[in-house]
């Protein structure tokens, strides 16, 4: 059983921040599908849980010119099934539909996933490769400035993600090799092609969390073809290694995923 805590359901973003500021050791909770299991195993014991998913400021999926704006409280299932996302960013919709399982997708949210920044989470790769903007209760943060290592982000204490703004690329693809038991990514690559650049972001593999593979970006920028990746390799020194996949295997998988993501733009590829 979890340690005790006080649960709050604020009515507005301002009230949420106010409760946070006055509490002893608070944390925000969205879908709770990372936080509650962590609390059940007693690896976290916040004094106060402040619920965010019902807040009006965090809702909605809209298109604003050449951007798709997704409210932080949108569940993975709602992103996966949104026609607007399926049309403008099919790889992102299919990525969302590949997170966890059906029940998890009904509760977990995009904002929660990004605030947590699990090194094996799917969304960070899409946010980084697409050069998205994280909109918070106080400012806007570009993806390049947001991710700060495993489970770490640029968010200040008490800051709340309200939305994520994704620029619509010319095309994008996501390829993932899943752990057959946990279904978390052992390695995954999101490749986005815009008018003037290619961005490649790898999740699941890096020892410092999600990262851009700049050598691959350069090669694909010159020739957008998986053959352009021949001879490029990631260093095992920068990869995670565990009983499921050692570092050199993850480095290899990340490269294979990148090739597949290039070959299969416009969709998710599961290896």
């Amino acid at each position: 059983m979890m340690y005790g805590f006080s649960f709050h359901r604020p009515k507005s973003l301002a009230e949420a921040a106010d409760v946070f500021a006055r509490a002893d050791d608070p944390t925000y909770v969205s879908g709770g599908h990372s936080l509650l299991p962590t609390m059940k195993s007693r690896l976290a014991a916040p004094s106060d849980l402040i619920a965010l998913t019902h807040l009006p400021e965090l809702q909605g999926i809209t298109r604003d010119g050449d951007r798709v704006i997704i409210g932080a409280a949108q569940t993975h299932a709602s992103v996966a099934s949104a026609a607007l996302v399926q049309d403008a960013l099919p790889a992102l919709a299919q990525l969302a539909g590949s997170i966890g399982d059906m029940q998890v997708r009904h509760r977990g949210t995009i904002g929660g996933s990004l605030a947590n920044n699990d090194p094996a989470a799917d969304y960070p790769s899409a946010v980084l490769a697409l050069g998205a903007t994280i909109v918070t209760s106080t400012r806007e943060i570009h993806a390049d400035d947001y991710f700060d290592g495993m489970f770490a982000t640029a968010l200040e204490l008490g800051e709340i993600i309200t939305a994520i703004a994704f620029p619509i690329p010319k095309s994008a693809g996501y390829a993932k090799m899943r752990n057959p038991a946990s279904r978390y990514a052992l390695a995954a690559s999101f490749v986005a092609k815009t008018e003037d650049a290619v961005r490649v972001a790898i999740t699941g593999a890096g020892s410092d969390g999600v990262f851009r593979w700049s050598a691959a970006e350069k090669a694909l920028g010159a020739s957008f073809d998986s053959a352009a990746l021949a001879g490029l390799a990631l260093s095992a020194d920068d990869m995670l290694g565990d009983m499921h996949a050692d570092a050199s295997y993850r480095a290899h998988l990340a490269a294979i995923c990148t090739q597949r993501a290039v070959d299969n733009q416009g969709r998710l590829t599961l290896l």
Binding site: Y3, G32, K40, D101, M102, V104
Partner: protein, 157 residues
């Protein structure tokens, strides 16, 4: 402790809970609805699946207070008296269970799958969407047959 009200199987039900009480504990210990099972208690096995505001969720990973004011459906709400729900009937006819421990969660998840996909349902979709429900007996084959049958999608009796 506080008194919490949740609509369960169409009736407003109340029980005393702590903020840390899980939805599954509210159902089993607060209301005595023990059809919803706790398998892994780590969001993996799906035995605790219930429908909350129209969506299948794992009730071991939802706080009871998060479900305040919600509409929850559990396995106890499916049968009409002695008459089994079509999904329960299909599970029985297709031998889609052996020990039966996963069955309530399997059926509640399947109910969501059928309600969302209707006539478009196919075996691949059933398998994908039941990924969060583990069965250690059947090998899943008869579960998929039962779900397709209950959805009106073939599988001869």
């Amino acid at each position: 402790m506080r008194q919490l009200a949740i609509t369960v199987n169409g009736e407003v039900r109340t029980a005393d809970v702590e903020d840390r009480t899980l939805l599954v504990e509210f159902l089993r210990e607060g209301l005595g609805l023990t059809g919803t099972h706790v398998g892994c208690d780590t969001t993996q096995c799906g035995a605790c699946t219930v429908i909350m505001d129209g969506q299948a969720v794992k009730s071991c990973t939802v706080l009871a207070v998060m479900a305040e004011g919600a509409e929850v459906r559990t396995i106890e709400g499916l049968a009409d008296g002695d008459r089994l729900h079509p999904l329960q009937d299909a599970f029985s006819r297709h031998h889609a269970l052996q020990c039966g421990f996963c069955t309530p969660g399997m059926i509640m998840a399947s109910l969501d799958v059928i309600e969302r996909h209707g006539a478009d349902l196919d075996a691949q979709t059933v398998r994908h969407e039941l990924e969060g429900n583990l069965c250690r007996c059947t090998g899943y084959h008869n579960i998929v047959k039962a779900v397709l049958d209950a959805a009106g999608r073939g599988s001869p009796r």
